[in-house]
Symmetry: C2
Subunit: 367 residues, 2 copies
C-alpha cells in the first residue's frame, strides 16, 4: 500500500443460520461453513475470490458468538481474531454494517470497504476481480455508495432487483446511477424486468468508504449512529465486547437496504456478469455446477448408481452408502453421515419444515 | 396322522436369486431370506402361513448350494437338514419338482405335496388354510393336479393368468376345470380378462399326490423321468448328493407350467381370494401394507421425516440415517446399512440394472 493509498478491506457478513441446506448445513455448520460449491468451505472460497484485490489479512467477519470460534478455525487460520466482529444478538444488516464501519474508522481512520455475503458462488474470478477494482476506484474517487448488480439470465422470483438508469455516470463508464431497489417480484413482473434490460439482480455486494456510509447512518439512522458513537472509544479495546453487548440489543432491527440504500441519494451501480449465484437452496446447485447431458448434477459421487434420471441433483457428502437412483426427474438426493434428504426440486425450500420437525421430536443431534 | 391318512408335505421352491429387491435382497440374502412384508424373513412367513394345515417339520425346501446353509439357519432351526434339497445348478422348475416328488415317494411311498413359492405375501391366513385344505382333499380324492388361482383385482400385466371353466367339477363345488394357462398379457387383454370373470391369476401354488405328478412326468417329460428314476435308489442315501450333481446338469431346462401343466389333462383349479400378492418388486409393497391417507407406505421408520409426499414408499432397513422426504410422488426410497435406493415407482424394476452395474464396477460387496 502506498502512503497516499487508502486501506482496502473486505467485510464478510456471516451471521446466517443454516436450514436451507440441511442436512449438510447445521447449527454448528451453517451454509458458509459447509463445502457446497467448491473444494473448500464457502467462506474460504469467498476469501479466495477477492485475494487478487484485497489482502487476505484485511478480511473482517461479522458473525454471531456460536460461529465466531469456528470462523477462527476455518479462514486459513490467518485472520486476526480481532477481525472477527461478534454480534451478541442478530439485529439485521444495518447494525452489522455500522459496527464494521466504525471499527474501520477506529483502526484506519478511514478505509474502502467491500461488504460481501459469505456464501455466494462466483465462477469467473478474473471478471469479478476487475469489477471489484472498478468499484473500489469509483467509491474512492467519487465518494459514493457503489453496488454491484448482476445481469439477470432468467426471470428469477427469488432475488431482489435493482432498477438502474441506463445512462452511465460519465461517457464510456461502466458505472451507472441506481434508481431504486425492488423486492422479489412475481414471475410476470420478473419477466418484464428481464426483457427490459433496465433491471439487475441485487447481489448484496456494496463498496464504499467507511466515512461515506457513516455519514449516511448519521443522516438516515441517527439514533443508531448516536448509540454506536457513544461506544466508539471502546472499540478495539478490552471493553469492546461488554460495550457491544450492552448497546447491540438496543439497536433498531433494520436492513441496510431499507434503512440506508433506498433513502441514500446518488447511489452508483455497476452491472456485471461473473457467474454469480447466491446458492439459495439445493436446487440452485443446478446453476453452479456443470450438468450432464440429461441435466443432472452429481457431487461427491461418481454417478455410477444413476440410471435414467433427468434434471436431478445428487449431493453425496459422506459416500459411505452407495446411492442408486432410477427414473428420477427434478429430484434432489442428499446424503450426509447421519441423514438422507430426498426432495422434489420445487419443494426443496420446505427443508426448513424438516428442521422444525426435528426440533419438535427432540432430534437436536440432527440440527 | 391316522394310519390310513396320506402324508401332507409342503415343498417350498426357494432357489431364486434376488435382484428385484436390491438393496435389501442380496446374493446371500435373496428375497425369501429378507424381511420384507412381515416381522420375519419371507420364507419363515411362508411356513407360518400353512402351519394350520401342514406340520412345520414336514416342510421341504428346494434351493441352491449357496442358500442351503442359510436356509438351515432360518426356518426356525427346526427343519431337518435332509429336507433341504440342493440343486447343483438351476434348471427351471420341472427338474426341481421331479426331484422333490421322487424324494416324497422314496421317503413316504406317496405324499400329498403343496408346491409353494417361498416369497409370496398372504394376508388372510384363515381363508388360505381353508383353501389349502380343500386343495389337499381334492388332490387326494380325485387324483388330480390342483392349482390355486387368485381372483384378479386389477388388470395386471405382471402375472400369468389361468382360464378356467366356469362350471364346477360337481354341483356346489368350489373346484373347477382348468382350461389353459396364459402368459403375461398386454394391458388391453388384461382388462378383458379382468372383466370376463373367467380368468384368474396364476399363484404358482400346486397341490398333487407325488404319484400323480410322477405319472405326468413319465408321460410328458419321459427323458427327465428316466434320468431321475436311474438315481432313485440313491435318494436319501450318502450317495444322493453325488448322484444329483451328476444327473442334474443333464436335465432339460423347462418350467413345470410349460413341461407338464399345459399338457396335462383335467387339471383342477380353485379360485381363491386370501390377500395374495407375489411382492414382485418394491412398488408392490403398496398392495401389501396399509397406506396412509396420502397413499404412502412407511416401513421400519416412524415417518417423521415425511413432508407433503403422495403414493410413495419408504423402506428403512437400517434406521441409522434419518430419512427426510419432501414433495415426492410415486417414489420409492430404501435405506440399508450400506446403500440407498431412490426410484420412481414405474421404473423400479430397473433395479436389476443397478445390480448389473455394480458387477461391472467391481462392487461385489453390494451384491
Amino acid at each position: 500500500m502506498l502512503d497516499n493509498e487508502i486501506k482496502k478491506v473486505a467485510v464478510i457478513m456471516a451471521g446466517g443460520g443454516g436450514t436451507r441446506f440441511w442436512p449438510v448445513s447445521r447449527m454448528t455448520t451453517p451454509k458458509q461453513l459447509a463445502k457446497l460449491t467448491g473444494n473448500d468451505v464457502m467462506i474460504n472460497e469467498t476469501v479466495k475470490h477477492y485475494e487478487g484485490v484485497i489482502n487476505r489479512e484485511d478480511t473482517f467477519i461479522v458473525t454471531n458468538r456460536m460461529q465466531a470460534d469456528l470462523m477462527d478455525k476455518v479462514l486459513f487460520n490467518e485472520i486476526d481474531r480481532k477481525h472477527i466482529l461478534v454480534e451478541p444478538v442478530q439485529r439485521n444488516t444495518a447494525p452489522c454494517i455500522i459496527y464494521a464501519a466504525m471499527t474501520m474508522k477506529k483502526l484506519y481512520g478511514d478505509a474502502l470497504m467491500a461488504v460481501l455475503p459469505a456464501d455466494h458462488h462466483i465462477s469467473d474470478i478474473r471478471e469479478y476481480e476487475r469489477v471489484l477494482k472498478l468499484a473500489f476506484k469509483t467509491a474512492d474517487e467519487k465518494n459514493k455508495i457503489v453496488t454491484i448488480g448482476i445481469w439477470p439470465t432468467f426471470p428469477s422470483t427469488g432475488y431482489g432487483y435493482i432498477r438502474f438508469s441506463t445512462n452511465p455516470i460519465e461517457q464510456g463508464s461502466e458505472v451507472y446511477h441506481l434508481r431504486r431497489f425492488v423486492e422479489k417480484p412475481k414471475v410476470e413482473i420478473a419477466k418484464e424486468y428481464l426483457n427490459s434490460g433496465k433491471y439487475l439482480w441485487n447481489s448484496g455486494m456494496f463498496i464504499w468508504k467507511a466515512s461515506v456510509i457513516l455519514d449516511c447512518f448519521k443522516k438516515y439512522l441517527p439514533e443508531m449512529y448516536s448509540a454506536m458513537e457513544a461506544i466508539y472509544d471502546k472499540l478495539g479495546t478490552d471493553e469492546e465486547t461488554a460495550a457491544i453487548e450492552e448497546v447491540y440489543p438496543t439497536l433498531e432491527k433494520i436492513s441496510i437496504d431499507y434503512g440506508i440504500m433506498e433513502k441514500a441519494e446518488d447511489v452508483f451501480c455497476i452491472p456485471a456478469e461473473f457467474g454469480w449465484n447466491d446458492v439459495g437452496s439445493w436446487d440452485a446447485l443446478d446453476n453452479v455446477f456443470e450438468r450432464t447431458e440429461e441435466g443432472n448434477v452429481v457431487i461427491g459421487n461418481d454417478g455410477n448408481g444413476m440410471i435414467d434420471c433427468k434434471n436431478s441433483v445428487i449431493f453425496d457428502n459422506s459416500g459411505d452408502k452407495f446411492i442408486a437412483t432410477i427414473g428420477l426427474e427434478n429430484i434432489v438426493v442428499v446424503q450426509t453421515k447421519d441423514a438422507i434428504l430426498v426432495s422434489s426440486k420445487d419443494k426443496v425450500q420446505d427443508v426448513k419444515n424438516i428442521v422444525e420437525r426435528l426440533k419438535d421430536i427432540g432430534r437436536e443431534d440432527l440440527l
